[in-house]
Subunit: 343 residues, 2 copies
């Protein structure tokens, strides 16, 4: 019997190269995982016009987690694969916790002057199934001077409360136990009030967790001027999209940025993927850095309850990155080998 | 006869202190301006419950520009003054160009390692009268588990086209002549398509201006990893709110961040104000830095067609800031005196 069933969607460009290393590391730390590879992304789309065939989605649903590399290729119109695969999985598999840890690791350099490894250590818990991502809205009088276009942000108490609860639960397991709510309550008064009231209610159940509120504009500024102040951040879908990229930037870029689109109850599979893209320019050369993909595999292991394995993978990646000689050429497979050997 | 009629809204905290210096500098560079001071902000609100009495708004409408200090005080519920004054003026006075230059000035330090004064020089042209700022949306079943809250982003071809045109016109007057559109077209497909198609149409009329598109998340990252690449940025109301604060952060914080909420046709008065807040903690001490307020006055002069005066004020502020001894105490009035003497 397998210890877990994982679907692997390498995807486009460097995606397949980095997921191969993530698999290698999972096998080293947790033998007995059963994998099924799915060929999704630009190739399938260009061949068939389909992004996620229903039969594949049904098969994915039978797995405990999806390890994803990257999708996207210049041959496909922008947005098609993102909406048809990434966002579809988030919505259909109710992956409401979009998890993005950001840490300034030893061996990496922040673009911020004077900020040292270890000083930045936060996790953004981004809502993944509501807000402006639902696709509501419309267009009238297209291509005329009278055109209007609307986008609607939909937010439910149900959706907000569950993700806020998740953020507080994570804060309970961290040293600093601090949660920052990021929104724009002074302008988005309807959704902002729902988020603020829900946050206050959940906070009242966690007296040992300290809390703070920041507007998205102020939070974006603090991400640059004082990212050290953040521990757990909880925010809506779009604000989370933005703030996690700033967090990645100040921790040295997306080279180490892992993410999980998580259905915490495990009713549906969760997706784990590096934040970086398919990087067609370096694809096939064996020089892509698999660190973020392997760290995403650690988030996957954590999600499966393999806490010890997750910790060992994270530590091995951190050690490997810290040991790199500055400027030395990187071989994708060798990084995977070293991390696999170290776990 | 006066050369211009300017309404001055010092507002709260350090607001009145910094606008006093801005007035001083305007008087030095352009004698004969007629001022009318209006006492708006927390004091008025706490005394009368009103934020912007109709009679005051009617009087403001008779001015060519409004010089604003800062509003906001802990005694007033968050959002009340912002929506009742700042946003109300933007909407009622059709201030559709929200202008935010960001420059790394000599004498200021970027938090980004290795970025030198002069290297960052951009202006964000943020739409000011549409998008998620219109206040559309609603709440159902408030304070029950069934609560939903919506926010609606409204975008018109009319509103998008005029601000995009303004951005290209500004780019024509700059050295690099480069305009970046920032949106999230891969997710916000309706509004994103309107923005992208409008941008392409206006770009076609400006063959000498180079253009680029970035998603808001990527743009936020580039603001940190490579802010040098931006020249003119045009974007919607909310994305502009966020991105201008990141731009301010990477150019050393909001100490030098000026802004204008502009009605380019001058049918209505435009508002010019520093991006910083009322800073109640240092109010009344005479130690607030008036640089951003004076730079806002320069934007005001530019708007009134006083291009030469605007340039002299900007250069005088830059020289004053560059001449500051690091760590030396700052006196608000002395900064104003020095800049006034230099113009
Ligand atoms: C590709 C895109 C749809 C996606 C998002 O906006 O969520 C990406 O930016 C991310 O952060 O995962
Ligand atoms: C105070 C607030 C309403 C305002 C905004 O969101 O536009 C401010 O952040 C700004 O950028 O001028």
């Amino acid at each position: 019997m397998s210890v877990a069933r994982i679907a692997v969607v390498g995807g486009d460009g460097i995606g397949t190269e980095v997921t191969a290393q993530a698999r290698k590391v999972i096998d080293a730390v947790l033998p007995g995982v059963e994998y099924q590879e799915y060929d999704l992304g630009a190739r399938l789309y260009n061949r068939t016009g389909e992004v996620l065939p229903q039969s594949v989605q049904d098969e994915l649903a039978g797995h405990e987690a999806i390890l994803l590399g990257a999708i996207g290729d210049p041959s496909v119109p922008p947005g098609v694969l993102e909406r048809g695969l990434l966002l579809k999985l988030r919505f259909d598999f109710d992956q409401y916790v979009n998890l993005r840890p950001s840490k300034l690791w030893p061996g990496t350099t922040s673009p911020l002057a004077g900020v040292k490894p270890g000083e930045i250590d936060m996790v953004v818990v981004r809502e993944g199934t509501e807000g402006l991502y639902v696709g509501a809205g419309g267009v009238l009088h297209k291509d005329t001077p009278a055109e209007i276009a609307t986008e609607e942000s939909l937010n439910t108490r149900h959706g907000v409360e569950r993700v806020v609860r998740d953020a507080f639960a994570r804060a309970e397991r961290r040293d600093r136990r601090h949660v920052t709510l990021v929104h724009k309550t002074n302008v988005l008064t309807k959704a902002g009030s729902l988020w603020a009231r829900t946050f206050a209610a959940v906070a009242a159940e966690h007296p040992e967790v300290t809390t703070e509120y920041q507007h998205i504009d102020a939070a974006s500024m603090f991400m640059v001027s004082n990212p050290q102040r953040f521990d757990v951040v909880v925010t809506d879908n779009l604000f989370g999209d933005i703030i996690t990229d700033i967090a990645a930037a100040v921790t040295g870029g997306i080279g180490m940025a892992a993410s999980g689109s998580v259905n915490p109850e495990r009713v549906y599979p969760s997706t784990f993927e590096p934040v970086h893209g398919s990087a067609p320019d370096i694809a096939g050369k064996g020089i892509a850095d698999p660190a973020a993909a392997i760290l995403s595999a650690a988030l996957l292991l954590e999600h499966l309850g393999q806490t010890d394995a997750a910790r060992r993978v994270t530590e091995a990646v951190a050690a490997e990155v810290a040991s790199r000689a500055p400027g030395a050429p990187l071989r994708t497979a060798e990084v995977g080998d070293r991390v696999a050997a170290a776990v």
